[in-house]
Symmetry: C2
Subunit: 240 residues, 2 copies
């Protein structure tokens, strides 16, 4: 893990860019030198890790005492896209324009992104946990499909906050039953591109006994800011 | 409004029983003499206002700086039941025992309780707002059916937190569309006696643009304590 830049915000938060092999990442840590619990903040494939709203979320979690890490997984953010990714995205655009069904295209596109993202998140987690400024335990926040797979196979993750707005491949809808750690599921009630009933069915499917759904009116990008606070308080209940 | 007893808790919360005509009520206020915003805490018909979990909820809201008031509405708590109430409750018990449909019995029983409770809540609100220790604004927390009717006709109520676990008469399901104030709707995902889909349909029907659903796993009485905190933070966003 190589740190390539460092920035300090006026509230003391330290933001460092890193690379880990081909993986580009960002780590935000509190000003205190005490080892902090870790939140993996996985944005979905459409946004780069430097997107301002994601950075604001990360900084807010640091204010709660967490170290927060994000990476651009393969095909995400500024990472190069494979020919298959490009083809799938072109197919998606065409189908959306023609008003045709998109589930099978998303199944292929997102399924492939998940397969490639999860090993890189585990590699990143290995490296992060060697740092003296990070102590664990570990939470995960964001992209549902990747988080389901990670939580299903990764015993070091203790609590997960998922955002319902995104396609979840059939394999992960099945794996959801294997999740037994505390879970907060965040749904935008009027999300244009993501069927509400599918999200409710997924919430129902999660195997954990301690799961909470937060739904708010509004579209895909309309999540109210107070949910960032609620997400951090959720982690406070389970990671501290 | 006649205060009939006063108790002080070691955290400074003052609990006073009162009567207002035939209405028995309880008012909890903070130790500070500054006028406080008010939360009307309406338990549903099966519980008396002195039930320990309700008292604990009220005291917790006082810790957030609210005055909290509760009453036993007609046919609720220790109030005498009408012959029709007794008949409906007997019919309900019989139908439940026989595994027969109960919707029409509940429609009659709860519909009548709502009709009688709402005027008493308004009378209570009138009296509470004359007290120097209460300033408004006013929130409402608890029994959904009564709260829908109150919020629909009572402009002094600024935000509502409803608990989904209870029968909502058809008239109030219609009136839900008239609610335009901020709303937090609390659902127990596995509530034995209250169909989940009906609660989700009701959440969808509320007319307000700023509504939030919190759902947790578990049965009717299993609401986790952190929802009390979330409810107070919801009021903090809208009543302060």
């Amino acid at each position: 893990m190589q740190f390539t830049s460092e920035r300090r915000f006026d509230d003391g938060v330290i933001e460092r860019e890193f690379t880990l092999g081909e993986i580009p990442g960002t780590l935000w840590t509190p000003p205190s030198p005490a080892p902090a619990p870790l939140v993996l903040m996985a944005h979905n494939n459409g946004l780069p890790k430097g997107e301002p709203r994601l950075v604001a979320r990360a900084r807010r979690s640091v204010a709660y005492g967490y170290a927060v890490a994000s990476i651009d997984a393969p095909g995400c953010g500024d990472r190069p896209r494979s020919t298959a990714d490009e083809q799938a995205r072109a197919d998606l655009g065409r189908a959306l324009g023609a008003g045709e069904p998109i589930d099978e295209i998303l199944e292929s596109l997102v399924g492939s992104l998940v397969e490639r993202a999860v090993p890189e998140w585990r590699t990143t987690l290995d490296a992060l946990l060697t740092l003296p400024e990070i102590s664990g335990p570990v939470g995960y926040s964001g992209w549902t499909a990747v988080g389901i797979r990670l939580a299903a196979i990764e015993p070091r993750i203790s609590a997960v906050g998922f955002f319902a707005g995104g396609y979840v491949p059939r394999a992960q809808r099945e794996e959801a039953r294997q999740i037994t750690i505390p879970l907060l599921f965040l749904l935008q009630w009027d999300d244009e591109g993501n069927p509400r009933q599918r999200a409710l069915d997924l919430f129902d499917a999660f195997g954990t006994q301690e799961k909470t759904l937060h739904a708010n009116t509004g579209g895909h990008t309309g999540t109210p800011w107070f949910e960032v606070e609620d997400g951090n308080r959720f982690f406070d209940r389970h990671l501290k």
